[in-house]
Amino acid sequence: MVVNAAVVLYGTIGSLLDGLLLGSLYGLMALGLTLIFRVTKIANFAYAEYITYAGYAAFAVSSMLAGGVTAFIAGLVAAMAVGAVASLFSDELAFKPLWHRGADSLTLLVASMGVGFVMRYSLLGAAVFANWPLQVQPNVANPVLATIGGLAYVSGAHVAAVVAAIVTAVGMHILFTKTRTGKAMRATASNPVLARISGINIYYIRRLTWLLAGAIGGLAGFLYSYYNPLNPESGWQMLLWIFAAAIMGGFTFYGALLSGIILGLAEAVMGFYMSTFLHISTAYSPVIALIALVLVLLFRPEGVIRLETHMLRRRV
């Protein structure tokens, strides 16, 4: 196959744009995961399902409307609300009771897998039972804003994803470093008993944390489905990427966003080059993020791009 220079150029631009979009979404999703991990110390495998549920909610609500701005806003609100509620429910029903019993981080991780299983497979089961479409997308158009060379294009989803990710990351950082509530979240994570003694209602803080994290997941789920159709396993299929971004970022908000973007770009751009020049199947490109995750965990478990110290290494 002769590699055409224009194809390479516009293909590169296109994959950069798509990588940026995908990466921003990974980063955005990682923000919610980071929030939960920092406040409750749970490596939450059920988080992916909040994203999926939110995407389905956006689909359900927006398809009842005629489309346009109303459908966009309704879909967004529905997604964030469902994400937040799903998140809060999973804590109230599973994680909080276990935490009260003094469960360790591994038990909570297993429990989150259990919650994820229940959520994911009940959605799958319900979809099959009721004959729902297995691929859903909100009834919102994704306008093409600009095309480059006829191959690469910038769409509404590109802009929305990047803006949402950056705004959320900055917002979370400000919340954690500047506001009373955010500091109370950190205090609750740092020393829950002393937080109570200081007059902080840690249960309120915990609920707020889960609601917020779920809403972030919901936002990400909506934006993702706006760009790419969702199926009941979409969230789960992205979960390890989300973890990769959060862990690479050392569970800091800016770190998570930056890592997400790097992973998205790596996946899209390397995938493009590998298939164009090396004729390696693009099916391998997801492996890039997973290998990055494993390498980071092996050699720098405290994160590559981080703003605060975390003690994740074993003592031995």
Partner: protein
Amino acid sequence: MATELEGILAQWLTYFAIYGIMALSFNIEYGFTGIPNFGKVLFVAVGAYAAGVLASTLVLMLAAPALGVEVVASGEPSYCTAAAKVVFSQAGQVLSTTTLFAIFLAAVLAAAVAGAATSIVASFPALRLREDFLAITLLAAGEILRLVTWTSVWPVCSFNGISGIPSPFTHFLGRVDVLYAGLSLLFLLAAWFYTEYATNSPWGRALKAVRDDEVAAEVYGYNVASIRMQSLLVGSALAGIAGALLVFYSGNVNAGTFRPDMTFEVIAAVILGGAANNLGTLLGAAVISALLILMNPSSLDALGVTLPQGLLNALPYLKYVILGIVILLVLMYRPQGVIPEGPLKTPIVEKTRRKLREYLARVGGQPGAGRQ
């Protein structure tokens, strides 16, 4: 009806054996040593691949010339070709039961060795990371293997997989599935005896010491790193064997089988039965495999249970919903499992020896001599 029931029973027993071995292996690592090997499916897959590749290569080497089939491969492994499938389907004509059994045993051995060898790679993170991060690492490693082998034609013919690997019971008539269930149960029995013996030995004490307090274990002179590695080595060899048994049960090796869900099924079995308790683990494996078998449209059909079509379609998913609920309920209300961890027992060998002595004493006409 009766034969269908037998079929389900055989299927359940085979699954019980395979999941039982996987669960015992996870129990050694997680229950006794405290290593959450959430990449269990990785080692099962490695074992399955090793067994599948070795068995199919051997069958090709031994049967293709005799059958006069020429297998030409271009870039892909020879056992992935269409000609190879022809050889597999006719291998029974030229290979004796002895040869087929030899191939089976060689494949199982290869699986154990391959599993154990892979564990050396896994021990690298296992010595460095906090539990929950180790779990994520191993889970991701399993996914990498699945995604790569699903796409790459090496080693197991990408998404097509290797199919039609002849069973050691090819020449047997009648209930081959029952025979295979029996064979698998033999392996389970051996694995159970081994783990029961090993975990009740001083080695088992060392594992528990490392699990409960690494610093203290170190102070008492245990080499913590080495013990964690040994635990992974044994666990992974067992997982490899389970993978091999899975291959000869279905005759196929397919990368798509080895999803993280399988690891979760094993975790569920161990947590349900009781971590660090081999008997509990087997109980858990029996329950989970029964759930997997029963929540299946064909099994329900065979049992004469009729359900609405929609529910039947949802059944494969519902079983995982049930699995998830079971896990959550156990973690919340009985975190130690159905049969909790007990104190270390006298090694089973000594126990058997004592029973034997009692028996001999009784037979020898000395009533009560053995009863103390």
